[in-house]
C-alpha cells in the first residue's frame, strides 16, 4: 500500500498578483491505493481548488504535495498525464464526437506523434467503455447521451488513461438520483477492483456516507477532517461540521434534519422496516418518535396479518388506518382539534 496523495501543511488558493490569500491552509491528508474518498463541504470551501491543485492545474501556495511520491510541480505534462486523470465539472459538448472517440483520446499519453491507436489501445478503449457501464454505447454521439451516460463516458476516458489516481470534481451534480447512486457505486467498485485511488468532491452527503472508504470534510475556517465515515460520526466530527450550517446530523439514525424542526413527541410501537419508514414519515411532520409510554399520542404498527396502524390519543377510541398517508391525515386533524380545545 502506498500513498497516492500526501500533503504536508499544504495551502491552496488563487494567487492574485503578488499577494496570495490561501483559501485553505495547513491541509494534511493522504489517500491510499485502492481507496475511494469523498470530499465534502459547502460551496466556496475550496473543494475544486484543492482538486485543481492535486491535478496540477493550479500552483499551490505553500506546503508540500506528493502524488504517488512525486512533486507534481516538477513534472511535465506528459508525465503527469500518466499519474493523474481527471473528470471535470465543465459540460463537454463536441459535435460529432462519439463515446469511442472521447475514450480513445484518453490513450493520448501512450500514443505516438500523430496519436494513432494500436490494436491493443483499441481493445483497452472498448474494455474501459464496458468497465464504466456503457457497453454497446461506443458509437453513440456524446450530444445524444443523458448526463449520467456522458459522465460514465468521461469516467471511461479516465480509466483508459491507466493512472493510479483519478480525481473527479462533482461527478454527480446534474444527475438524477438513480444515476447518482450508480456513479458512486461504480467509482467505489473501480477503486477496489483496480486498486486505484479515487477522490471526488460531492454534495451527496447520504451517498458519500454509504459508499466512501474515507470522507474528507472541508469547510472555510475549520481544519480539514478526514477519516472513515463511521469514525467521524462516533467522534462527533460530522455533527460539529454540519452544525454551523444549521443542519443537525442525527448520530443515531445517520439522517440529516433541519435544526429546530422537532418539537412534538409521539410514541411509536413496532419493529423492522415498517418502524423505520413510519418513523421517517412522522419525523417529516415534525414529530420525534420515542418509546415513552407517557406520550400524549401513540401509534402502534400491526404487521402480523394485514398492515395496520393504530392511532390512539389521550381522548377517545383508537383509530385503525391502512396507509401512512391516512395516518398523517388523522394526526393533522387530531392536532387541529387540540388547538381548538386549548
Amino acid at each position: 500500500m502506498s500513498e497516492l496523495i500526501l500533503t504536508k501543511a499544504l495551502s491552496v488558493g488563487y494567487k492574485q498578483g503578488r499577494n496570495s490569500s490561501p483559501l485553505h491552509s495547513n491541509i494534511n491528508v493522504k489517500l491510499m491505493q485502492g481507496e475511494f474518498a469523498c470530499l465534502l463541504g459547502p460551496n466556496g470551501a475550496g473543494k475544486s481548488t484543492l482538486l485543481k491543485t492535486f491535478a496540477g492545474f493550479l500552483p499551490k501556495i505553500s506546503g508540500d504535495v506528493y502524488i504517488n511520491g512525486k512533486n507534481p510541480d516538477k513534472l511535465n505534462a506528459a508525465t503527469k498525464a500518466r499519474l493523474i486523470s481527471v473528470v471535470l465539472t465543465e459540460r463537454l459538448m463536441v459535435p460529432n464526437m462519439t463515446v469511442y472517440d472521447l475514450v480513445a483520446l484518453g490513450r493520448s499519453p501512450f500514443t505516438g506523434f500523430f496519436g494513432r491507436l494500436t490494436g491493443k489501445d483499441r481493445q483497452l478503449v472498448i474494455k474501459a467503455i464496458g468497465d464504466a457501464g456503457l457497453e454497446g454505447f461506443a458509437n453513440r454521439n456524446l450530444m445524444e447521451l443523458s448526463d449520467g451516460e456522458r459522465q460514465k463516458a468521461l469516467i471511461a476516458k479516465a480509466l483508459v488513461q491507466e493512472t493510479p489516481l483519478i480525481l473527479l470534481d462533482e461527478p454527480t451534480a446534474f444527475l438524477d438520483l438513480p444515476s447518482r447512486v450508480e456513479i458512486m457505486h461504480l467509482l467505489k467498485n473501480l477503486a477496489h477492483k483496480k486498486q486505484i485511488g479515487v477522490l471526488l468532491s460531492t454534495h451527496d452527503l447520504d451517498l458519500a456516507l454509504q459508499t466512501a472508504d474515507k470522507v474528507w470534510l472541508l469547510a472555510a475556517g475549520l481544519p480539514m477532517e478526514t477519516g472513515v465515515p463511521e469514525d467521524l460520526v462516533l467522534t462527533n466530527e460530522f455533527r460539529k461540521f454540519f452544525e454551523r450550517e444549521g443542519i443537525l446530523f442525527d448520530n443515531a439514525t445517520g439522517h440529516f434534519t433541519m435544526a429546530g424542526a422537532h418539537v412534538k413527541s409521539i410514541r411509536l410501537i413496532g419493529k423492522g422496516l415498517e418502524y423505520k419508514w413510519v418513523s421517517r414519515a412522522l419525523s417529516r411532520q415534525g414529530f420525534t418518535t420515542s418509546d415513552d409510554p407517557f406520550s400524549r399520542l401513540q401509534v402502534e404498527i400491526r404487521s402480523d396479518s394485514q398492515r395496520e396502524y393504530i392511532l390512539s390519543g389521550p381522548d377517545g377510541v383508537p383509530i385503525r388506518l391502512r396507509t401512512i398517508e391516512d395516518l398523517l391525515e388523522q394526526l393533522k386533524m387530531a392536532e387541529k382539534r387540540q388547538s381548538l380545545t386549548e
Binding site: 496540477g56 492545474f57 511535465n76 505534462a77 465543465e90 460529432n96 464526437m97 506523434f113 461506443a138
Partner: protein, 349 residues
C-alpha cells in the same frame, strides 16, 4: 471492428473528394473566357505545341498557376479555420479572427494610399506596385501575427485571446479607414480591387514564394493533429492528457497565422472559405477526429476554391467575378444552416 469500418468509410469519402477535386482542377484549366478545345487543353497542359500559340500561353501562364493558387489558398484557409474553431472551441471562428488579414489590409492600404501624401498614386506604377502590395500585405499580416502571438503568451485564457485578436483586427481596420479618407480616388479603387480577392495574381515567379510558404503551413498543421484533437476538449482536459498547452497553442496560432498571412497577401482577403469549409466537412464525415478532418478539410477547401474560381470565370460574366462575392454566396447559407442545426441540437439535448 467498428473503428475499421468507419476508417474505410472515411477513406472512401476522402477518395471521392479527391476525384471531385481533380475534375474541378481539369475544368478550371479547360474553361475560361477564351474557348479552347479539350484536346488542345490536354496538349497545352502536357507542354506540347497547340494549334494557336496563345492557347498554350493561356493554359501554361494563366490557368494552370491560377488553379494551383486556388488549391493552395483553399486548403490553407480551410485548415486555418478548422484549427481556430478547434482551438477556441467556437464554431464561428475563422482564420481572419486573429486580425491577421486585417493586418494585411493595413499593409496594403499603407503602400497604396500613403502615396497620396507624396503627391502621386502608387497604383500608377503597374507591376512594380503589384509586387510592393504583396510585400506590404505580408509584412502587415506578420506584424499583427507577432502581436497576437505576444498576447497569446501573456493571456492564459483562450476567450480573452479571442477578444484581443478581434480588437487588434478592428484597430487595423480603423487605421485603414483613416487612410482611405485621405487618399486619392485611384488608390482607394486599387485597394477595393485588392479586397475583392483573386487567385489570378500569382505568376510562376511569385509561385516560387507562395508555394513553399503555404506548404510549410499545411505540413505544420498535419504535424499538429494530435494536440489539436485534444484541445477540442478544453485546456484542462488537454493538459491532463499530456499536451503542453502554451507550446501547442503558440504553434497552432503560428501555423494558421502564417497561412492566412501569405494567402491574404497574394490573393487578397478571401472571405468565408475558412469558416464554411470545416462545417461542410464535419457534416460530410460526421466525425470530430482531427486525423480525418485535417486532410479532409484541406481537400474540401481546395474543391470549394476551385469551384468558386470556376463560377467567377463562367463564360457570360465579362472578365472575372470577384472571388469574395462567390465564396460569400456559398459560405453564408452554410453558416446559417450551422446555426439552425446547433439550435436543433440544443432543443433536443
Amino acid at each position: 471492428m467498428t473503428a475499421i469500418i468507419k476508417k474505410r468509410k472515411h477513406l472512401l469519402r476522402l477518395t471521392i473528394l479527391l476525384i471531385i477535386g481533380l475534375i474541378l482542377f481539369m475544368l478550371n484549366i479547360a474553361l475560361g473566357s477564351v474557348n479552347i478545345p479539350l484536346k488542345e487543353v490536354v496538349k497545352g497542359l502536357l507542354g506540347y505545341e497547340t494549334e494557336l500559340e496563345s492557347w498554350s500561353y493561356i493554359i501554361q501562364r494563366s490557368r494552370l498557376p491560377q488553379a494551383i493558387t486556388a488549391i493552395l489558398a483553399g486548403a490553407g484557409l480551410a485548415v486555418g479555420g478548422l484549427q481556430m474553431q478547434a482551438l477556441f472551441r467556437n464554431p464561428l471562428a475563422d482564420p481572419a479572427i486573429l486580425g491577421v488579414s486585417s493586418g494585411a489590409g493595413l499593409g496594403v492600404a499603407m503602400v497604396l494610399m500613403m502615396g497620396s501624401f507624396g503627391g502621386f498614386a502608387l497604383s500608377a506604377l503597374g507591376w512594380i506596385g503589384h509586387l510592393t502590395v504583396t510585400t506590404a500585405a505580408f509584412a502587415g499580416a506578420m506584424a499583427i501575427l507577432f502581436l497576437v502571438l505576444l498576447l497569446a503568451n501573456r493571456l492564459r485564457d483562450n476567450a480573452m485571446l479571442l477578444i484581443a485578436g478581434i480588437m487588434v483586427g478592428y484597430a487595423a481596420s480603423a487605421l485603414v479607414g483613416v487612410l482611405k479618407f485621405y487618399s486619392m480616388k485611384e488608390d482607394v479603387h486599387a485597394f477595393v480591387i485588392w479586397g475583392l480577392g483573386s487567385f489570378s495574381s500569382v505568376s510562376w515567379t511569385r509561385m516560387e514564394v507562395f508555394f513553399p510558404v503555404v506548404m510549410v503551413g499545411l505540413i505544420g498543421s498535419l504535424l499538429l493533429i494530435k494536440p489539436l484533437n485534444l484541445m477540442v476538449l478544453g485546456d484542462n482536459y488537454a493538459s491532463n492528457l499530456g499536451v503542453n498547452i502554451r507550446m501547442s497553442r503558440f504553434l497552432i496560432l503560428a501555423c494558421t497565422g502564417l497561412l492566412t498571412a501569405v494567402i491574404t497577401a497574394f490573393c487578397g482577403p478571401i472571405a468565408f472559405l475558412g469558416l464554411a469549409v470545416p462545417h461542410l466537412t464535419r457534416g460530410l464525415f460526421k466525425t470530430s477526429n482531427q486525423q480525418v478532418l485535417v486532410p479532409a478539410v484541406m481537400v474540401a477547401g481546395a474543391i470549394l476554391a476551385l469551384f468558386s474560381n470556376l463560377i467567377a470565370r463562367l463564360p457570360g460574366f465579362d472578365g472575372a467575378l470577384p472571388i469574395n462575392a462567390v465564396t460569400s454566396m456559398i459560405g453564408a447559407p452554410v453558416v446559417i444552416s450551422v446555426i439552425l442545426n446547433n439550435r436543433k441540437l440544443m432543443a433536443g439535448g
